[in-house]
Symmetry: C2
Subunit: 411 residues, 2 copies
């Protein structure tokens, strides 16, 4: 029941020179489903990522960070990403680290590189041992079907409770060179600022210097994957990886250059698309909400208020019910922890002016609120009149299906 | 479907000398239900309260604070509390303040006192004008049935989505004098630290000096009503009021005295009982959870972690499903914003040791977790091994009925 989220058309997913993708049905948790993905990178690629801020960050996240760091120090490139679903390898202590390393070693042997040149990712159930042998046994199958034109299967291979694969492509011409960008992402619960059991992988054939890519991935994440929330639960495994294969040539090595700006624009747009796909396919989602807070003193306080609205179960259930019980939005603004002057606050629902100077707008009519609430896409706009800062997040409603999905997830 | 919450037995509710209660069916929102309550106080009473921290605090809360302050300055006692359900008079701007004042003025005329000697309280839908005329019209009925032995009806008169009235009594002997305490409370959504659309009124016939009562109400709230959460939504109207009628004589005027300690113990115990009743009757609740975090550096960080667990929709749905998907608890601990060393963390579910030093305990068996999860009352215990601080909160699960209740609330 995803919200306005068409299935990606496989032919619309453009191969990225320097990337091959191979999937396998390894039976990590369930039989007969794609659950292992190998992304093989050209040795000219640069890679950068942002990860969950959860203190219980999963073993693969820890190994991934260590390998990124180690490869840089050794001056060798990352050669592949290895992703499994069905098991998060989180809350698994020392054995979990050993297991994550073991899968890297196994893939490294098959690709004739060092284990530290492999980045591991896992998503699924927490607190259960990773079935390393099954993943290892699936690797030859994944290697066997490595191909550039395999993004649709790749998107399917990283799904957990997602109802459909998420993938998109885009291209941008920079100084006469056509740059191709293709990305995949998965949700769909445990989604909240600073990442989620959200995995996002975006590859492009641009050549981007490592420090520039490091800058870019943070900038982009803050405007895309860090602007979404489903349920406020920050996962142990969230990762967003940006890969520049370097095959297209023409290195971008200056964050102040017009070339960087052009690339950043394209990467941000594609990342927002992939991030919004996660919200549209949020567990049980029936509505897609854009929450914008304007006129704050700082971006941070605008985000705080936007997230208070976006996380409120009362607001989310009202949207599910298409019920303009909009006082719940004001209540959430009020407890966000920002010292606002409520008498200056204005609230809009799409084009409807609901609250003026902190109280119900005298011309506000229930039927106008009702009309907007019945839409599948709704914008909530809060104006604080404190300053010039603004922030936008994307979220969905809270439905019966969210409860069903999460009450039954392991069954 | 309240969790282990028996209906109060009317005869177990002991009248408090110096308090009379009168209710009315004023049709504030719906006909034929008790929705207005007047609590009339002896002129020897002292009154103190704690209120919502929501910036959008409702008009009655603002008026209540002003009247408490004004009566103190004028040296006159508070003579009555006026509570209505069906409408929160919140998000209503200047007209809301005028409406709250108008109800006080009307009651003051009937009781032959000043409007500033009346404290108003409202709970119900936000952002809609208070139907002042209907409340005024109901006041004579409430006055007509004022009586000391009316606590059960009083508890019913303040209900909103509560499935049953919440009330309890207790007595304590202090220096040979028997002190009677009786309280009522209501939930049941928008419940979270620093109060909720939670109203709590606790009266006792003790004589307590104003500064001592002011101290006591804060101390008690921090150990009772501020330790509960249903959905993390802090309401605009939360209030907890402590009334000491002074009729029993024997003034308590020193917070360091053994008399104060004895009284504080009784008030705390009764307040915890009333607060836990709100959780047991949480919207859609099927499980009652006690979450204890031990070994923190500060109480504040223990509470932060306890609330991260208690607010996590993923944890709450797992409890609803009786599913020992306990990694979700570790994930919530990890994103609570406390810089813990996860390798020292231990997690217990009742008597079952689930996680040891940050990973799954080698002896932990799924069936042991399953056994505890099937209970209606469950204790989650997290040990941080950072220090000596500890905190406990009470919460409930997140069920289909929570969504139904909040999606249909205004229908």
């Amino acid at each position: 029941m995803a919200v306005n989220l068409p299935l990606p058309i496989p032919s619309s997913l453009i191969p990225v020179a320097g990337i091959e993708l191979g999937h396998a049905e390894a039976g990590v948790r369930k039989a007969n489903r794609k659950d292992v993905l190998v992304m093989k990178l050209a040795d000219t690629a640069t890679v950068s990522g942002v990860f969950t801020t959860n203190r219980f960050c999963a073993a693969p996240v820890q190994v991934c960070k260590a390998h990124l760091e180690g490869a840089r120090i050794a001056g060798v490139p990352i050669r592949a990403l290895l992703i499994n679903t069905g098991n998060a390898n989180a809350g698994t202590g020392e054995p979990g680290l050993a297991n994550a390393n073991a899968t890297c070693t196994a893939l490294a042997q098959l690709l004739a590189c060092e284990a530290s040149q492999i980045l591991p990712f896992s998503t699924g159930v927490i607190l259960e041992p990773l079935p390393v042998d099954r993943i290892k046994a699936g690797l030859p199958q994944a290697i066997a079907n490595l191909q550039a034109d395999n993004w649709y299967n790749a998107a399917e291979a990283i799904m957990t409770t997602d109802t459909q694969p998420k993938a998109a492509s885009r291209s941008v011409v920079i100084n006469g060179t056509n740059i191709t960008l293709t990305g995949i992402s998965k949700g769909a619960g445990m989604i909240k600022p600073n990442m989620a059991t959200m995995l996002g992988f975006l590859a492009m054939d641009a050549k981007v210097a490592q420090p520039v890519l490091d800058h870019l991935v943070k900038q982009v994440a803050d405007q895309s994957f860090n602007c979404i929330t489903i349920d406020g639960d920050t996962s142990t495994n969230d990762s967003f990886m940006l890969i520049a294969t370097g095959v297209a040539g023409h290195e971008i090595n200056d964050v102040d250059s017009p070339e960087y700006a052009a690339l950043a624009g394209a990467v941000t747009a594609l990342s927002q698309q992939l991030a919004q796909m996660i919200v549209r396919d949020g567990e049980g989602a029936t509505k897609f909400m854009t929450i914008t807070v304007e006129g704050g003193e700082t971006v941070e306080e605008c985000r705080k208020i936007a997230y208070a609205i976006g996380h409120s179960p009362l607001v989310k259930t009202a949207f599910f019910a298409s019920d303009p019980n909009l006082g719940r939005i004001l209540a959430a603004v009020g407890y966000a922890g920002v010292d606002i002057d409520v008498s200056k606050l204005n609230l809009y629902l799409d084009d409807v002016w609901v609250a003026k100077n902190g109280g119900r707008h005298p011309d506000y009519k229930e039927e106008d609120g009702q009309r907007v609430m019945k839409q599948s896409e709704i914008t909530v706009r809060v104006k604080l009149a404190r300053g010039a800062a603004t922030a936008t997040i994307w979220t969905c409603d809270l439905s019966h299906d969210y409860v069903s999905i999460n009450a039954d997830y392991r069954s």
